[in-house]
């Protein structure tokens, strides 16, 4: 049972059920779109348009427009792919891990985190597609009866597992997210006075009733779908890690990669949730729902995960030394620590393993501005981690005659910025048109976790 006395209230301000309905549906039912929304949408669209130019350039000319070469054949595209996939892990981690662990503080954040997952995974998916060079042959990645044999795809390749795992992850996350919104769509349908909105949200709600039997089936189906999706969080990023670890390149060929990548994904996902929720609670005045205690809880999780990241980095370095392989040792002690990409390597260590340790201090953990800044540092640090893994390993392998440095071209930068624009635009549309907090779940925990009685007050 949740103990208000020990954990504190989850929804502040002694809300009633009706208040929650009003607060969640308010921004959707409002006829005016706020100015900041238009401004943000304009910036995001501009970024997206630049990205479309990058795509166009790549498709019409080819991957020659990128800074890749024979040695560094994976560049920004793979770095950004892994980075986005990592961010895309937050939604499921939030919704499902915390659901299984009975962490009730997830309810005001899970919907937004799931939306983040959907858009981040979509952004991630664009990179392998465009990396093929011939995007129009992308369907070759799927096994279908063809006239070439039929020659099937290589079912033992981590690259094909990736295609399957990510498509599955996107499908399952989307369905879980959508099903969770149906009761809230019904609530909007029954509240709105606009006929068009009533029609649209009525269609989206699939004719939701909210009867006892309906809720029972809903809860059962949602729990099963969530429970089934949970292992995907582990498997998707393990498979992404195997794209690297199954290769023999020094710095990649390591059994630590799958767990290391999964932890890294949860780390960057939680950091992005923090970044996003700090902005959302401010602009939508949701401080009573996403309370300081929520942010504190995420910060604590990040401190712990940051420690795991630190241990993983140290373990990698130790194993490189312990292996006594000159190539492994070269990668870690020369190429990364003091080589051409030393800045990226040390930025990764500082941003991921050291800066988040500041959360040990209560003063920093409870200072929203500091928390926001640190969350940005983690996002950057995780990007550098993927840069270090991809570029330092590939640029200097066994034969010095194949050594080649790498720097991105404008096209690559444009595509990356474009996906950022796509992500932000997606989140903006979500905030404007869909219920951004799970109103029905908030109502479900309200009485148990947020009603302040005389005793609670005395205790505090």
């Amino acid at each position: 049972m949740y103990n208000v006395k020990v954990r504190g209230v989850l929804i502040e301000g002694n809300k009633s059920y009706h208040d929650i309905t009003q607060d969640v549906n308010g921004p959707l039912l409002s006829k005016t779109t706020p100015n900041w929304w238009w401004m943000a949408a304009f910036v995001a669209s501009s970024m997206l348009i630049w990205g479309v130019w990058g795509f166009y350039n790549t498709v019409t000319v080819g991957t020659g427009t990128w800074g890749l070469n024979n040695s560094v054949s994976w560049g920004w595209a793979i770095i950004n792919f892994v980075w986005w996939i990592g961010i895309g892990h937050a939604g499921t981690a939030f919704s499902i891990f915390l659901l299984v662990l009975h962490q009730k503080w997830r309810t005001s954040i899970n919907r937004a985190a799931e939306a983040m997952t959907i858009f981040a995974v979509m952004a991630a998916g664009m990179f392998p597609l465009i990396h093929m060079g011939r995007v129009w042959d992308g369907f070759y990645a799927f096994p279908y009866p063809n006239t070439r044999g039929p020659l099937w795809t290589n079912f033992n390749s981590p690259l094909f597992w990736d295609v399957t795992a990510i498509s599955t992850y996107l499908t399952a996350s989307f369905l879980f997210w959508y099903v969770g919104m149906m009761p809230d769509f019904a609530s909007i349908r029954d509240r709105t006075v606009s006929k068009i909105k009533k029609k649209i949200y009525g269609i989206l709600s699939f004719g939701w009733l909210g009867s006892a039997r309906g809720w029972l089936r809903f809860e059962s189906a949602a729990l099963l779908m969530g429970g089934l999706t949970a292992p995907l969080v582990v498997s998707v990023h393990s498979i992404v890690a195997m794209d690297f670890a199954a290769g023999i390149v020094p710095g990649w060929h390591s059994t630590i990669f799958p767990p290391f990548f999964v932890v890294g994904a949860i780390f960057s996902g939680f950091a992005m949730v923090l970044t996003l929720m700090i902005i959302v609670r401010k602009v939508y005045k949701y401080e009573e729902y996403v309370t300081r205690k929520h942010l504190d809880a995420i910060a604590r999780v990040l401190t712990f995960v940051s420690l795991i990241m630190g241990v993983a980095y140290v373990t990698e370095i130790f194993i490189a030394w312990y292996s006594n392989s000159p190539y492994e040792m070269y990668v870690f002690f020369k190429s990364r620590a003091i080589g051409d990409y030393a800045f990226e390597f040390w930025a990764m260590i500082v941003c991921n393993a050291i800066i988040p340790q500041l959360f040990w201090f209560k003063k920093i953990r409870t200072n929203i501005t500091m928390v926001f800044i640190i969350s940005i540092f983690i996002n950057i640090g995780m990007w550098f981690e993927r840069f270090v893994i991809v570029v330092t390993s590939l640029s200097k392998t066994w034969l010095p005659s194949t050594w080649h440095n790498y720097s991105p071209t404008t096209t690559e930068v444009a595509i990356y910025v474009g996906t950022l624009g796509f992500f932000v635009l997606g989140i903006l549309l979500f905030l404007r048109f869909l219920p951004m907090m799970a109103a029905s779940e908030l109502k479900g925990i309200l009485k148990e976790t947020s009603i302040v009685t005389e005793n609670t007050k005395n205790h505090e």
């Binding site: 039929p150 079912f155 006892a212 089936r217 089934l228 292992p231 498997s235 779940e441 109502k443």
Partner: protein, 173 residues
């Protein structure tokens, strides 16, 4: 009056609803359904509602595992046995795809089952007994059958109000 064949007890509090359902059942009054803004587990217990969706999900998952293995075996061993890196064509690494597609099959078919059982589809027209039940009200629906005289209706009304109902309405939905 003859068309209004449902009695609706409207409540403000989730715990009062489940108590009221218990009291109605004790008095041998059939509760047709309870509409609420969020799931009420105590009401399910009292109405003895059960769902078999978990069993169905297990079957869908098993189907996903077996189906994926059958497909991989057929493509890689029977239809076009191509050797990759000297590995056996019937490979242990099939497990990865079997794992992922088991989940996909389970998720998609569970959702489909749920929607079919609830007869839900995009654009389905609904008539809520009381549309406030998606906001902050909890509504107990009691079917008024032909045998019920005014006396019986009055008794139900009294019982509902005593258990904390803020309103008792008649409806024909």
């Amino acid at each position: 009056m003859s068309k209004q064949n449902q009695i609706l007890g409207v409540f403000n509090d989730p715990d009062e609803v489940s108590e009221a359902v218990g009291k109605l059942l004790q008095n041998n009054i059939q509760v047709k359904d309870v509409y609420s803004p969020f799931p009420l587990e105590h009401v399910w217990e009292k109405l003895k509602l059960k769902t078999r969706i978990p069993y169905a999900t297990f079957l869908y998952g098993a189907f996903g595992t077996a189906g994926t293995f059958a497909f991989l075996y057929w493509t890689s061993v029977i239809n076009y046995p191509l050797i990759y890196g000297g590995k056996p064509t019937n490979s242990l690494s099939f497990i990865v795809l079997m794992f992922v597609l088991t989940i996909l099959s389970g998720v998609i078919f569970t959702l489909a089952t749920y929607l079919i059982r609830e007869k839900m589809w995009p654009g389905r027209e609904v008539n809520m007994p009381d549309s406030r039940s998606t906001d902050d009200k909890f509504v107990i629906v009691i079917e008024k059958d032909k045998n019920m005289d005014d006396e019986a209706v009055r008794k139900i009304d009294e019982l509902l109000k005593k258990s904390g109902a803020v309103e008792v309405n008649m409806s024909n939905v």
